[in-house]
């Protein structure tokens, strides 16, 4: 009860006006009240009041939340539905541990680099050839498994620990993150390319681990803290010469900058170190806009229409929206087109796409339609999870757009 008691006043501040209905995609697409922010809050309150014993249906209501955070922006009372859901997930974890098996297995795998490497390798080589033979698995739960990219070798094994430039102006620590390491290594290379083209020396610690967000999101604060400590100590102690800790994954960035502070709020002795770390964290577009990209070096021969998808952790987590759009528009012959609801969740939402695929598929279908309506050739975004989800959705809808990270788009605009 402790966790829910801590948030009880916020639970009680929801006066059920229903203003969040419009913000909540899981409600809008199902029409089911228990899939709305208001519904979830009232259920959590019922548990806190001892009127409801958490059961499977309760768990589904809590676990199916996208944590997109739009409800928090919409609520006139300033009730943060996503934070209340996080508290409920933590409460569930303390009550029962993380169930079912699949979710627990997925989270443990993500937390351990070795097991994670094995997991991603399922999608290549023998694993992939087996998967390809099973037609039913083709679009397993809305995830385009057949086209799921995997790095031949993890990015961290492909690059040296330090990449120097002739006249370094900045020293950047690169927190790669799981997706860029194991799956979208090309994007990681793009990040390095753009940084080095702009006179940044790049430091890439080999011993980095998962940021802990997947575990944190499901209430496993212990594992999340363990990974957070490794990350913080690595960058602050071993590589203290890095001026900033840069990541090209919006979710990792929000976790490193904001959620670490929440996570260690109860450990004052370590918290000051977390604060130092948090202040060093920058997201790719945010950093490039800050140090400035030399526009004269960017080339592009044929007209290109680009639209941008705001990852939840980018727009509501980091509150960064202008910079990626500015960077994209620096490229010659680019026409930028804004899509409808660019800042709404794409349906990936961490593990939601795997565990609550029906609703997440509907969300993605809406998103791909919004993309189609712009007539863009290319969708840029700032989160690898969104990239994979969007490309899968676009392929499934038979559309042609290519999804790329902002870093990829910029990197491609350099002639060599």
């Amino acid at each position: 009860m402790g966790v829910l008691a801590d948030v009880y006043e916020m639970l009680n501040t929801c006066n059920k006006c229903g203003g969040c209905h419009t913000a909540c995609k899981t409600y809008k697409l199902t029409g089911s009240e228990e899939m709305s922010t208001r519904g979830r809050i009232q259920l959590i309150k019922a548990v806190a009041d001892g009127k409801l014993e958490p059961n499977q249906e309760y768990e589904d209501a809590i676990m199916s939340c996208l944590l997109c955070g739009e409800c928090a922006v919409t609520c006139p009372n300033g009730v943060h539905g996503n934070e209340l859901v996080m508290a409920a997930r933590r409460d569930l974890k303390l009550r029962k541990g993380i169930k079912p098996f699949a979710k627990s297995f997925a989270l443990n795998t993500l937390a351990s680099p070795k097991r994670l490497g094995m997991g991603f390798s399922l999608f290549k080589g023998v694993g992939k050839s087996v998967l390809n033979k099973i037609d039913g698995l083709d679009y397993f739960r809305g995830i385009d498994i057949r086209n799921f990219p995997t790095a031949k070798k993890p990015f961290l094994e492909q690059v040296p620990e330090k990449i120097t430039v002739q006249h370094p102006k900045h020293k950047v620590g690169f927190y790669v993150g799981c997706f860029l390491n194991y799956s979208l290594d090309q994007t990681a290379h793009s990040v390095v390319k753009v940084l080095t083209k702009n006179d940044c020396e790049v430091i890439i610690p080999k011993d980095q681990v998962c940021c802990g967000l997947p575990q944190y999101a499901y209430g496993d604060f212990e594992t999340a803290k363990r990974n957070a400590r490794i990350t913080i100590d690595t960058f602050l102690d071993k590589y203290s010469d890095a001026e900033v800790v840069l990541t090209a994954c919006a979710s990792c960035a929000a976790m490193l900058r904001h959620d670490y502070l929440t996570l260690f709020a109860d450990e004052p002795s370590y918290l000051s170190k977390v604060k130092l770390f948090s202040e060093k964290v920058v997201e790719f577009s945010e950093y490039m806009a800050k140090i400035g990209v030399d526009q004269s070096k960017l080339h592009n021969s044929s007209p290109l229409t680009i639209t941008y998808h705001d990852p939840c952790h980018m727009v509501r987590g980091l509150k960064v929206t202008k910079q990626p759009r500015q960077l994209l528009q620096m490229i010659p012959r680019v026409e930028y087109k804004e899509m409808f609801e660019a800042n709404r969740c794409c349906g990936a939402a961490g593990l939601i796409q795997a565990f609550y695929h029906e609703v997440s598929t509907d969300i993605t279908v809406q998103k791909t339609q919004n993309i189609k309506d712009t007539n863009a050739d290319l969708v840029a975004t700032s989160c690898p999870a969104c990239m994979l989800r969007l490309q899968g959705g676009i392929n499934k809808a038979g559309q042609k757009q290519k999804v790329m990270h902002v870093a990829d788009v910029i990197a491609n605009a350099y002639e060599d």
């Binding site: 006043e9 009680n12 501040t13 929801c14 006066n15 059920k16 006006c17 229903g18 203003g19 969040c20 209905h21 419009t22 029409g31 089911s32 009240e33 228990e34 709305s36 519904g39 009232q42 259920l43 019922a46 409801l52 059961n55 249906e57 309760y58 209501a61 609520c75 006139p76 009372n77 300033g78 009730v79």
Partner: protein, 458 residues
Amino acid sequence: MLSQTVVKRLKEIVGEKNVVTDKVGLLTYGYDGTLLSGEALGVVSPQTTEQVVEIVKLMNEHNIKLVPRGAGTNESGGTIPSEESVVISFTKMTKIHEIDTENFVAVVEPGVINFDLQVELEKKKFYFPPDPSSFKASTIGGNVGECSGGPKCFKYGVTRDYILGLEVVLPNGKVIQTGGRNFQSEPGYDLTRIIVGAEGTLGLVTKVFVRIIPIPRAKKTMLAIYDKVEDASQTVADIVAAGIIPTTLELMDNLLINTTEDFTHAGIPRDAGAVLIIEVDGYPEDMDGQVKTIGDIAKTIAKEFKVAQSAVEVDQIWTSRRSAFGSVARVRPSYGVNDITVPRSNFPKAIGGVLKVAKDFDVTIGVVAHAGDGNLHPLILFDQRNKEETETVHAAEQALCMMALDLEGTISGEHGIGLVKKKYLDKEFTPAAMEAFRKIKRSFDPTNRFNPGKVIDL
């Protein structure tokens, strides 16, 4: 508990996932925008008129009551399953069948959200004027049930004035169509107008023919800022007396200015006693004249008068106004809302009355009002967990209702009667009128199975 037979039949009618009988699901269909709650026997979400008919027939066979529900954002307790009943939720009937801009009519299912309809209409440069503050969440079916109003009502009228016809499933399971797509009044008794605002006690609406109109070419939004709420109410009376009808004439007092500023940062001065949000619409060339006339009237009392300069500013102002109810939990966790309405000319007296009730009962009241309509929403703030305080609030609410009736007003302008105001209805109407209400209810629903216990007791 519903019998296995009934649950099985319901699932056959609407499909497995559109029937809810588990505790978690039922909990979330037991509340609305009020402080009341109940627990339904089950929740069923039909997707077609035929399914609604089947459900009604099945419920009749088993003598089970039905409570219709849209988004559950109402302020009257109209969707609370207060008696043993099944909730019939219309949130999955969301088709917009037709938008006919030549004949100014749209045909929609009841679960279409007001805002979603506006988005589609806007693409064709049309709109549907009734705009309750909950319009981003509330459904057209719910708006019809409660006969919702909204800021634009001053000039354009309430939901009732924009419903051309309805498809209704009656308590006996038969389907009728009232009115239609024609603009003129219908032959025979005006059943459309009896069903609108009946809160689902007479029939279940499954299709709505709404009147739509072209979006005005121009609009101007003004803010008049006052030291005292009484001063603002005087401007309202002066504008009305001058024979001007703005699109909207909305009032918020100091408390609401502050709670909404916390959320929207619209820049309304926090030390102001009250603000009037005044909007006019029409042809571009008419704007300046209207703004000047209104400005001249307001400036005689207001300490500041300004015209919004950008679309962003207008948006912020309206977000403030629309989030007024939602925002007050920043002060206290619970609120009781009234929608007492008085003749426009009595508006300043009603404001005085509200202030007096706040003083007499020593309660905190925030005032937001569709001032042009004489429609007030005094929000009494409290904490429901405090029993004594809650009782004082109920007494104050009653005093507000009596005050409105004394000023030749009504206890409900637009929120409906539901459960919350049922006990005051016979203060407003004579025994003969109350009996006429009962007769109407009995003639539609002799066994009292549609939204029982709402509006009137039989």
